[in-house]
Subunit: 104 residues, 2 copies
């Protein structure tokens, strides 16, 4: 874990909101998953376009935000066809809270 990169990724309201939204994807992205084939169902993953619409920033901005959060460890992604689905890395976030308590 690179704590500086993680804290930088968390230092932005939009990115923080994305993390929060992805905690309850069904609630915040009701129409998501339309394109996701059942057999590869990606639990809780939301595609970039849906996140962009909700976040109200440009397509390039949301793409780089998501990439940044993934590199930091906060998110995971899979691609299915032309869609990329992002979801939280809950284990990592747990570890981050633990890291705060012990290493900071």
């Amino acid at each position: 874990m690179e704590p500086i990169d993680v804290f930088k990724a968390l230092s932005n309201e939009t990115r923080l909101n994305i993390l929060r939204w992805l905690k309850e994807p069904e609630k915040h992205f009701p129409k998501q998953g339309a394109h996701l084939p059942k057999e590869v169902s990606y639990k809780g993953g939301v595609c970039v376009g849906d996140i962009q619409e909700k976040a109200k920033v440009s397509q390039s901005t949301v793409s780089s935000y998501l990439n940044m959060m993934q590199k930091a460890g906060l998110l995971e992604s899979v691609r299915h066809g032309q869609w990329t689905y992002y979801r939280r890395n809950d284990l990592f976030i747990e570890q981050l809270a633990e890291y705060l308590k012990t290493d900071i």
Copy 2:
């Protein structure tokens, strides 16, 4: 708590180190406390000058870093005479870890 301000304060190696050093002040600031009168002994507080020497940044930089971390909630300070002593706000850091688990 303003999470953005807290994460910004944590997004810098020197500031992160200051927090870590203040976890074991006796260890990292062996000669600290020289000016602190016994009757107002400030458990674990370290003066700005000692922190600056260890952090190897300018006096103004360390002063604004400490101020920023205090505003964010990570540190507390008391002034005794011409010295300002800073120490960790451990309760706040605990709450931050909790906040991460529940709100992020």
